[in-house]
Subunit: 238 residues, 2 copies
């Protein structure tokens, strides 16, 4: 029986491997790809590069993934599998853990923030598990199902938005070999100075002159997250 390409990727993977040959496997492919992306960024992920990394012909991985999109899904699932949310906490602690866990994951794997849209949507088993755990933490609070899912998605949206920005900054810094926030500011200074010289942004200029923790990304993240959780609290406690 031929491999049924119309079946979902995940179903195909869970079918018993009819292959005693086994120099390649979805696992090996995924972790090799993740290793490359972690070390050199998403743009280093190339079917050829992946193949050489696995000491295999360029087209070989196509036996396991139907294309690059599939590969990216596999990578996402691979790293999300490492995320464990502590159970038995209250709703707020659970959402906080969800946010912090996702943040950590996206810091460790900066490429997560630059995936193409169809991959961002991918409903992989590990992601389903995260959703399941979060929904469970929100269960039994008297919320209707739509609100439960809405809360989960809102936190997820905030985390993704914030981390998309943060990891873009960090990718930029490492691309320019900047290691401190001061170096970053120095790098951006000429552009910023030019903007300010137009005189169109007086309030922004005032911010630049008086702010003190301009680049505390962790603090920024916490501020927004706490605001969001506070707002959710008002809807949870009946």
């Amino acid at each position: 029986m031929a491999t049924d390409k119309s079946a979902p990727l995940w179903e195909r993977l869970e079918r018993p491997a009819p292959a005693p040959r086994q120099t390649l496997s979805a696992q090996r492919i995924a972790s090799a790809a993740v290793a490359v992306a972690d070390a050199e960024g998403l743009e280093a992920i190339t079917m050829r590069r992946l193949a050489t990394e696995l000491s295999v012909a360029p087209m070989a991985p196509y036996r396991y993934v139907s294309g690059k999109d599939d590969l990216l899904e596999l990578m996402v699932d691979h790293v999300y599998a490492g995320m464990r949310l502590p159970a038995g906490l209250g709703w707020r602690e659970s959402l906080h853990a969800l946010a912090m866990g996702t943040r950590e994951l996206m810091l460790e794997h900066r490429w997560l923030a630059q995936l193409p849209p169809q991959t961002k949507l991918a409903l992989t088993p590990s992601r389903m598990a995260v959703a399941e755990q979060t929904l469970t933490a929100l269960d039994g609070l008297g919320l209707d199902p739509d609100t439960m899912m809405g809360i989960f998605r809102s936190v997820d949206a905030y985390v993704h938005g914030a981390m998309s920005h943060d990891s873009a900054v960090e990718a930029f810094m490492s691309a320019q070999s900047l290691s401190t926030n001061d170096e970053l500011r120095t790098e951006l200074a000429p552009l910023m100075a030019w903007h300010m010289r137009t005189g169109r942004y007086p309030t922004y200029q005032h911010y630049l002159r008086t702010a003190t923790r301009k680049d505390d990304r962790q603090g920024q993240f916490d501020l927004g997250l706490n605001c969001l959780l506070d707002g959710i609290a008002a809807r949870v406690t009946i």
Copy 2:
């Protein structure tokens, strides 16, 4: 199309004068690119495609943009220039207008959500203007500058995260020629059914069975936004 050196001298001489010069400009380039991306998505944006759209040689636009990244920045600035935030509102209405304006912009130009990270960071004049207007709306409330910027960035992060998801969904739908949410659900049903058959997601399954407004994206967006704004309110009103 090649300069045919073997053609008779006289034919070569009578060929139309190569250029009524100033055919290109940053404006023309930006709006042509935006038009293509709006109609066919970001992946249709190709230096060659852009050139043919402008009836010009592939390398011609490089006189105005130093590469594709520059082009994308130009496009971002071009569409953000159309965003006007009403002035004279209170802080909450202003933040709400910022969120809704950005949402509308990202719905109108779905490619905004799939830009590469360095372009997402781009500090273009139009984006600076949006930041300026928002900061102005937050001024005079007794907030310290860091908190002002933090609030602006939090709202922006939420909007980007939420819309990144939403416009990925819509890109997927239009790619599969699905027009209604029911069609979308039908398309995803086999995958979802497979996940559910594993029995690993009981709470998710319960959600699927009992939820009623599963795909009300506007409602989801509003829920999270209102939560966030409520949380901010607690920090604004001292």
